[in-house]
Symmetry: C2
Subunit: 311 residues, 2 copies
């Protein structure tokens, strides 16, 4: 469809590019069959990597997590790892974006005629890239954003493996609406035991009495979360990756979240109460500074192959 | 798109018809935007009604349940109730099917530009109809089908309201794959307390020592479930709609499931062990017989408006 495209064609990708079943199309034209089980049963996994100043951040880590999730869902993808990576470059190259949000998704596909067995399906790969999207704009982040504790319990690992990144956002969407109804920006969910988990697209960190806490289970193993843990270790912080009771959250000196969509973001209030007293997000802002510095580190940054715009 | 269609055009709808954003299209061409939150966050609700011998079964009950779910998700639909019903007639009319599976779906839609608030979206309506689909073929039903108890816990009501019919089938899909791996047909899920809930598209009934049990909570309020309860009451059965412990299931005289996709289906084995001993699905088969008889009852049957094929 896009054969013979040249650099002028980036105009049609001005809002974003997508990959659907082997073809690159403008994001507004990209679609999924109504009967793909990825839609009608949310039988899918996805990942999101971002591009910052022309570089993918931790591209290989995102791709490996995605391929691991596909394996555990018993998906067999039509693209090998190198082809998948080339597709991601090709999408971003078509847009010319130097800062971008890049989603890649695998779905179960459509049921074979007369079959009810999900294992009989031809699995599919989709992707789309749009301008970089923030949980909170960069210039609002230093001051911190407002968080609530959501009413819905986070989906239990006994129901769905949270380390397979998934679209089953019913609890998270309810949390977002609750946050919006109270004027807050984000909502964090507890599990059935009253311990801290995660929220819509982010992991949670709590700093209390010199120790940095984050949940060890029942959450996505976020790539930004991993980056935060690496930075904290390098800084010599006392880190506990373990159960995080609600009380630690309520009594925190600092709370912050980590997300591909925005990096490391301090929380200034929880359910309307200011977080901490005088620490002023010192730990969060230190980690955040290093996080953005790492975007120029060749160990984490993969230059986008903008030459792949027309292949 | 389909203006001026006539009866010859049913050929293009031979595999099924769909409704997408105001237009009727062949089911194979129907799609959802890749960035509809109904896909990338499973932010959607749906319902399934069936057509049997040219009649919808309990059409009004399905539509009312669907509209109630939309309200609770704070969806504002582009179709009023009478337009929605007309759309369902129009889809089936285009196919000419006299037995059909009819799905109708509402999604959150796409995020407004620059917004992260789900309440800012334009909600959408989709639908599709395909030939009637069975959990188990009609002629296999009398002998009963094989069931396993799935490993994943059913999604907790504390996480997601199960009475809002949803596509978050991760636990159910895992159950279906576990069933398939062991040669069984269906998988029933327990909740965190070890009590019986439901499976992929069905409610569960257990008959034990003269009493018919079905869960009162943590499950979809199925329309076929309601029909079974009405029939059982009419038959003077002792019915308990309450917590159903796993032990009752394991010790059952009979187990059966109810589903729009197949009606009332006896279970002959649970985890490889025959169910009951000499009752031979007597209760299930009695209820099943009445269930199919009701399909000719004007109180339940709505004739498809096949004249609406071209409007």
């Amino acid at each position: 469809m896009m054969a013979g495209m040249n650099i002028q064609d980036t105009k049609i990708f001005a809002e974003g590019a997508a990959y659907v079943n082997g073809a690159f199309v403008p994001v507004a034209e990209a679609s999924v069959p109504l009967t793909d089980l990825g839609f009608i049963r949310s039988d899918a996994t996805y990942d999101v990597v971002h591009v910052w100043n022309g570089n993918f951040f931790r591209l290989n880590d995102h791709v490996d997590r995605f391929l691991g999730s596909c394996d555990r869902l018993r998906f067999s993808l039509p693209l090998a790892k190198d082809e998948l990576i080339r597709m991601l470059h090709g999408m971003v190259a078509r847009t010319g974006f130097d800062k971008a949000y890049v989603n890649f998704t695998a779905t179960r596909g459509r049921l074979a005629k007369g079959s009810r067995n999900p294992l009989d399906c031809e699995n599919r790969v989709y992707g789309f890239t749009i301008p970089f999207s923030w949980i909170a704009p960069f210039d609002e982040q230093e001051a911190g954003i407002d968080m609530i504790v959501a009413n819905p319990e986070r989906t239990a690992p006994e129901t769905l493996d949270p380390t397979i990144k998934n679209f089953q956002w019913g609890d998270l969407t309810r949390g977002m609406i609750e946050a919006s109804d109270t004027g807050a920006k984000v909502a964090v969910h507890l599990n059935r035991h009253g311990n801290v988990t995660e929220g819509a697209g982010f992991n949670t960190f709590v700093f209390k009495d010199g120790t940095l806490w984050t949940p060890d289970a029942g959450v996505l193993m976020g790539i930004t979360r991993r980056t935060v843990l690496e930075i904290a270790e390098r800084q010599g912080l006392d880190v506990r990756v373990t159960t995080v009771p609600e009380k630690i959250l309520r009594d925190a000196d600092e709370i912050f979240i980590s997300s591909t969509a925005g990096g490391v973001i301090p929380i200034r209030s929880l359910d309307g109460t200011p977080v901490g007293n005088k620490s002023n997000s010192r730990v969060a802002l230190d980690i955040r500074e290093t996080y953005w510095t790492l975007h120029d580190d060749p160990a984490y940054a993969t230059p986008v192959r903008y030459d792949l715009a027309d292949v």
